[in-house]
């Protein structure tokens, strides 16, 4: 689960780290009010930052500087309610619903400090670079020697000597070195305490008088651990998530929207990805990833159909079930039963393999519903691609007929 910048900063501030003074606003007036409060405390520069989950906000115009509270209000007004397009959002962008208004900070140096779970060494790793304020992936690709790291060994975490070693590797001295090492230690502790899967301060700013300030922060939490952090679950922002993905999650379905035309319903995540690949290799485009779970129960299949059919681009549905413990005849009956409650007006291609596959296929073929039945994965993908292009041709014909 991704957290917003303002949420991440609140968690870091609670741990004693220094973040700029500021507040969240949902309207231009609110933004102006926050800036006026900051001005009363002595600020003369204000940052207005779009609060969206996508990265690369600066490049998309989602971070602006103002010289007065009025200007901050105007900048916020211009951002709020509008789509923000960044290198990570896709061309349609994401709607900005909140902005963070902060006091400007005089920057002397910008650093990068982050934590991630290193899968190869199977432990969290702290990553630091003297080149802050830019994407760490870019630094890693262009100048890998500028990236330093230290592992957090199970049971020990990041030891102070390791944090110091990183601070020295960044070329820091004296007070700044000690303060940056402290920030690294705190970040590692927060990562462990909150069950983070990624935590990043970029940039971590050093001012002329060696103050160390968290200028931007991003924390991603491990979904599997949220059960033990009910307070953090409350930070979820559903407006940042794809609506169909939210609906699927409510039915315990694993769904990811894509932009193709063949809706997929598969049991198992690996087979679901494999089915998408097979469709693509057959010349088609999957409309989604969808794992109905190993059991493929009637309720889940029905919910899956409802979600699939809400995606407007779907021209055919491909059901691929490998019956292991679940029997294919039961899945076939489940599909038919589900179709009594959900209207599906595009061709349905069904491929059942595994336990009682022959019986399952016979049930589908005997049904009044017109299924396109396939035996192999190969055949199923080809038939789905052909059916989708037929749907498209019929729609085009109907469209031109209406126009003439």
């Amino acid at each position: 689960m991704k957290l917003h910048e303002f949420q991440s900063k609140a968690l870091l501030r609670a741990r004693g780290l220094t973040v700029p003074e500021g507040g969240v606003a949902a309207t231009g007036d609110e933004a102006r009010a926050v800036a006026e409060r900051l001005a009363a405390a002595g600020s003369t520069k204000f940052a207005v930052k779009a609060q969206v989950h996508a990265g690369g906000r600066g490049k998309g115009g989602g971070i602006k500087l103002a010289d007065s509270p009025d200007e901050a209000g105007r900048l916020a007004d211009a951002m709020l309610g509008q789509p923000l397009v960044t290198p990570q959002t896709g061309p349609e962008g994401v709607i900005v619903r909140k902005v963070l208004v902060e006091a400007g900070v005089a920057i002397a140096r910008e650093l990068y400090v982050g934590l991630t779970l290193d899968r190869a060494s199977r432990q969290p790793v702290v990553i630091a670079s003297a080149e802050g304020g830019v994407e760490i992936e870019e630094v890693a690709a262009e100048r890998p020697e500028a990236i330093h790291s230290e592992p957090c060994a199970p049971g020990w975490g990041l030891r102070p000597f390791q944090a110091q070693r990183l601070a020295f590797a960044l070329g820091l001295e004296g007070k700044a070195s000690r303060r940056v090492a402290h920030v690294m230690g705190q970040l590692a502790e927060i990562f462990g305490a909150l069950d983070g899967s990624m935590a990043e301060i970029n940039p971590l700013v050093i001012t002329d008088d060696d103050e160390v300030i968290v200028l931007d922060a991003k924390i991603v939490l491990d979904d599997n651990a949220l059960y033990r952090h009910p307070d953090l679950e409350a930070l979820r922002d559903p407006s940042e998530e794809q609506p169909l993905e939210v609906e699927a999650a409510e039915h315990s379905l694993s769904y990811v929207a894509l932009d193709g035309t063949i809706g997929c319903m598969v049991n198992g995540a690996g087979l679901a990805m494999g089915t998408m690949d097979q469709i693509s290799n057959a010349g088609g485009f999957p409309a989604n990833f969808l794992d109905v779970g190993g059991g493929a129960s009637v309720e889940r299949v029905a919910a899956a159909f409802r979600i699939l059919m809400k995606a407007p681009s779907v021209e055919a549905v491909l059901i691929n079930i490998f019956g292991g413990i679940v029997r294919c005849d039961r899945v076939a009956k489940g599909v038919i039963e589900a179709l009594e409650t959900v209207r599906v007006d595009v061709p349905i291609i069904v491929r059942l393999q595994g336990t009682n596959a022959v019986e399952g296929r016979a049930i589908l073929e005997a049904s009044e519903i017109e299924f396109i039945v396939a035996e192999t994965l190969d055949e199923a993908a080809s038939k789905a691609v052909a059916a989708a292009s037929k749907t498209r041709a019929i729609a085009a014909e109907a469209g031109s007929g209406a126009g003439s």
Binding site: E137, A225, R228, V256, A269, G274, D277, F289, I325, L377
Partner: protein, 290 residues
């Protein structure tokens, strides 16, 4: 022979009285696996299906029955602890089926198991089967057939699909290992590839990877260094978008890393027979084994 589990395996099931545990213990026993004990805290003294003694702790079960492998069906909040209990009791092998364990719990568990010499397979996996002799997991036994292809996979149903193709092609499997779809797992592709080289029965390996992490690239480096067996591989998720978790907690392209294209290129470079579609796995292994 086979690897990890065989006819001599003495299996213990942790969480044997739960719904999943009960169902799959019966399936394993039906397949012929020697289930010698079960553990459910608080239910010690009961008998499972009138034949398998249930204990309160893994230590008691091991002392009474000599169990050497544990199959774990414990719910996510308690699963990490269950694996540690198995390791502490001296299990040779712990196979954890549970999906949804916090990743940082697994960091501690993997360290704990390594320090005690217990091999962990999983979590979030279908388990391990040596066809014809021993099934320790939730995979459908009937699609398997004893033979000489070793199978290693991060997936569940996609593995059954591959196994089914191998069996239909007239071949069989030595051992099939589901290593799990989580970011932190106990046994890697490289570990399994190493074990297969010491198994006389295994003549070729099918490796089914997916997006996320770098385990396939590490395996490619191992294979490039004179690996003695032919390897066929499919990587799921060629069409997966970046930044999205594809079902498995570990199946995500993060920061532009962990794409199927990178993995396929690394494996090809290492001399692996990489197929582009899952439907080609069976035919390719037949071709490779001649």
């Amino acid at each position: 022979m086979s690897i990890l589990v065989d006819a001599d395996t003495r299996l213990l099931v942790q969480g044997i009285t739960g719904t999943e545990g009960t169902f799959h213990t019966r399936q394993c026993r039906e397949y012929g696996t020697n289930v010698v004990a079960g553990v459910t805290p608080g239910k010690g003294g009961q008998q499972f299906d009138d034949e398998v003694p249930v204990f309160n702790t893994v230590g008691e079960a091991v002392e009474a029955t000599g169990a050497d492998v544990s199959l774990i069906f414990v719910p996510p909040p308690f699963a990490a602890d269950a694996v540690m209990e198995a390791a502490e009791a001296g299990m040779r092998l712990a196979i954890c089926i549970t999906e949804g364990i916090p990743a940082l719990d697994m960091v501690d568990v993997v360290g704990y198991c390594n320090a005690r010499g217990t091999r962990l397979v999983g979590p979030n996996c279908p388990g391990v089967i040596s066809p014809g002799s021993c099934k320790v997991g939730i995979m459908p036994g009937f699609v398997h057939r004893e033979g000489n292809v070793g199978v290693i996979s991060r997936s569940g149903t996609l593995t059954y699909e591959a196994v089914d193709q191998i069996t239909r092609a007239g071949l069989g499997q030595s051992t099939c290992i589901g290593i799990g779809g989580d970011p932190v797992i106990g046994t890697t592709f490289s570990d399994c590839l190493g074990m297969f080289t010491e198994d006389e029965q295994t003549r070729a390996v099918v490796m089914i990877g997916e997006i996320g992490g770098s385990a396939e690239e590490e395996a490619a480096a191992l294979i490039a260094d004179d690996y003695p067996l032919p390897v066929v591989s499919f990587i799921a998720g060629q069409t997966a978008p970046p930044g999205k978790r594809m079902g498995h907690a570990g199946a995500i392209i993060a920061g532009g890393k962990g794409t199927a294209a990178e993995k396929m290129a690394a494996l090809r470079e290492a001399g692996v027979h990489v197929v582009g579609s899952p439907s080609e796995i069976g035919a390719k292994i037949v071709e490779v084994l001649g």
